[in-house]
Structure formats: C-alpha cells, structure tokens
C-alpha cells in the first residue's frame, strides 16, 4: 500500500534531521509501533520541516501538517470524520514541546475535554529548536537558550518544566505516559497501549537534541539515559489519573547529566555554581520522591 521498498521503515531515511536527532528516532519508533493503519498529524517544527520538504516526504502513512498550534483540533476533525465514515485508522498527533506546552494548549485542552479518540504525542526536546533554540514551557530550570540565555544576572531559564502530563491527566485522559527514546521497546509499548485505549491519550517522549543542547551527535541515547538515571526525567504511566508504573533507577548525581551539555556549561565555567546545581538536584530529588523511583537495597527492580 505504501509503495515503499521491502524492509523499509514506514518513516523512511532521506529525511533532513541533523545526524543524531532524537526526534527523528522518535518518529521512526512511533510508526514501528502504530503500523500502517494510522493517520498522523504533525505540528510545525523540526520534525515537520526535516521530514517533508516538498515533495520529499519521509512518511509512509497518511500524514498532515496544518499549523504550529492546531494539531489537536485538526485531529479532532479527522477523528469525527473517520467515525462518521466508519473507518478504523487511529489518529495520532506528534508535536514538539513548543507546539504542546505553549502555543497549542488551547486546542489540546479542548480536544481532551471533548474526549476525542486520539493519541497526542509530544516529542520533547525542551525548546523551540526549529527557530533556533528558544525556551519553551518544557525547557528545564537553568538551561541556557537563545531567549533564556545565562548571563551575569541570569541562571538561564528561570522556571521548571510545566507538568503537562499532570494537566492532561486532570482533563480526564484515561492514559497518560512519559517515555524516552533511550527505551525504544517501552516507548513502542506505550504507543500501542495509547492508540488502543479509547479516548484522548497523551505520551510525552524525551528526545534529546544534539544541536540545541550542545553535545556530540553520537551521545543522544546516552543523554536520554542519563536524564532517567539522574531522575531529571521519569518514565511513568498514569491510568485514569493515577500513577501506576514508574521506572526505578539507582540515581546518579545530576551533575553527570548537566556537565555533558553546552546548555548547562555556565553551571561549571567560569565558576562552579554549586548553588544552581543544588537547585537542580532538588528537582531530581522531588521527582524521585513523587514517583518513588529510587532503588533502595533489597527492593526488587520494577
């Protein structure tokens, strides 16, 4: 049906993402999980741009891009149409953190409140990358971006990440999950669960961006893993608003994650900012507390 060469992934090579792009891997894993019977709605951003310069689409499934902020509304319409036509395709949005946390909030809130049978996936690279690394509501505390630059009187981004999963769970979403490209099988499993759960489901997948965060392209997966191992990113599932499963880890100090990224370099040079690093460690500690992810002695792993 796709006309793609045999053995070719539904998300094909030839796309123009930077080498080592986390979101590109997420797109590929997403379609591995959904298979062909899906309609994808993509927001404006890196993924849309690197995968569809006319006429070179990398998508082997029906795909639509309308605007930066309206994917959830477009998906609502598609879902309604499919229902009326008695069709079986699953409707999946894949949108950046800017499109999700910030500008698309209205459309997402409406779609989730109305209860459309859609899965909304946010690929979270923690800034507006397509426009040149500006901060978003998903940018972590103290990350330096082009609009939250670190400086003599600024620690970089002054706010913590917005709790989008919590916000959407509060809309009554039956299934909300976080995932990471460092754990492909887990991400794929969550996608399959979401698309097979009736109603609006949300997955936020951590997708490090070598260009925007400032690390070598080969390190993308290492960085995603470290985020989990430090407790700065937690992989969990929420079913009907209740956290059911969170990935447990033997936590490493946040410094191991921070020191390897340019966006946090001002925490180490010219002087070692113990105060800011301690703040970030507190965030990780709070995550660990909230989700109970710490592996203590004698406790079985998951």
């Amino acid at each position: 049906m796709t006309g793609l060469p045999e053995g070719c992934d539904l998300f094909t090579p030839g796309h123009r993402a930077c080498g080592g792009c986390g979101p590109a891997l997420a797109a590929r894993l997403l379609l591995k999980a959904t298979g062909e019977n899906v309609i994808v709605v993509n927001s404006t951003g890196c993924m849309e741009v690197f995968s569809t310069p006319y006429p070179e689409t990398a998508w082997g499934v029906p795909w639509i891009h309308s605007l930066f902020e309206n994917a959830a509304a477009v998906a609502s319409g598609i879902e309604a149409a499919l229902k009326k036509q008695g069709r079986s395709e699953k409707v999946v949005c894949i949108c950046g953190d800017g499109a999700t946390f910030d500008i698309g909030m209205l459309c997402i809130s409406g779609a989730f409140e109305r209860g459309h049978d859609i899965t909304y996936i946010c690929y979270d690279n923690e800034a507006y990358m397509n426009t040149g690394i500006q901060r978003s509501g998903a940018t972590p505390y103290a990350a330096s971006t082009t609009t939250s630059p670190a400086g003599a009187c600024s620690p970089g981004n002054v706010r913590q990440k917005k709790d989008m999963p919590g916000i959407l769970a509060a809309h009554g979403a039956p299934y909300v999950a976080t995932a990471s490209i460092a754990y492909p099988a887990d991400f794929e499993k969550k996608v399959r669960r979401a698309i097979n759960t009736p109603g609006p489901c949300y997955i936020q997948v951590h997708t490090p961006c070598c260009t925007g965060w400032g690390f070598e392209s080969g390190e993308t997966i290492n960085m995603a893993k470290l985020a989990i191992e430090t407790g700065l990113w937690v992989n969990y599932e929420m079913v009907n608003g209740v956290v059911e499963k969170a990935k447990k880890v033997k936590r490493k100090p946040v410094e191991e994650y921070l020191s390897r990224q340019k966006r946090f370099q001002h925490l180490f040079k010219p002087s070692h900012r113990d105060d800011l690093i301690a703040e970030i460690q507190k965030i990780a500690d709070a995550n660990a507390e909230r989700f109970g992810i710490d592996i203590r002695s004698k406790e079985p792993i998951e």
Partner: protein, 86 residues
C-alpha cells in the same frame, strides 16, 4: 512533474535524498565481534542499519549520516567511527 494539489506527496520521495553525502565519519562494523543483538539498528535515527541475508549488520551508506549513535550503543564495541576519505 506537475505539482500535487494542496502540497501533497506520496510516500517514498524522501528516499531520493541521499543523506550519506553529509557524512564525515563512517561507521565500520566488525562482524567478528558482533553478537547480532540488533541494538544498533534499533537506535539509528535514519533507520539505515540492516541485517543482511548472511546475518551481518551493516549501514546503508546512501543514508548514514555518520552520527555515531550506533557506535555508542553497541554493547560489543563492534562499531568504529572512521574519518571518511572522499
């Protein structure tokens, strides 16, 4: 080619864009030490690592951007990034 109404296109067109030309370093796979776990293929953002009929993993150099992810994730250190002579 006539434009398609609504800026639309059928699948497969991106395959015409051979991103292998971007590469500076090239992954070299060592079939001797490789344990066929397939982890490299799983993590490649291009999806361009294939298992051949002989059961050997190798990158499609038409598309490999030389990012080095496969080298980093390989548990057997069977992949080496080499500066490519062009």
């Amino acid at each position: 080619m006539a434009l398609r109404v609504g800026c639309a296109a059928p699948p497969g067109k991106a395959l015409e864009n051979k991103t292998g030309t971007w590469r500076v370093f090239k992954p070299v796979f060592d079939p001797e030490t490789c344990n066929r776990c397939g982890i490299c293929a799983q993590f490649c953002p291009e999806g361009c690592i294939r298992e051949t009929d002989e059961g050997i993993f190798e990158p499609d150099l038409d598309y490999c951007k030389g990012c080095g992810i496969c080298e980093e994730v390989c548990p057997k250190e069977s992949i080496r990034m080499e500066k490519e002579e062009k």
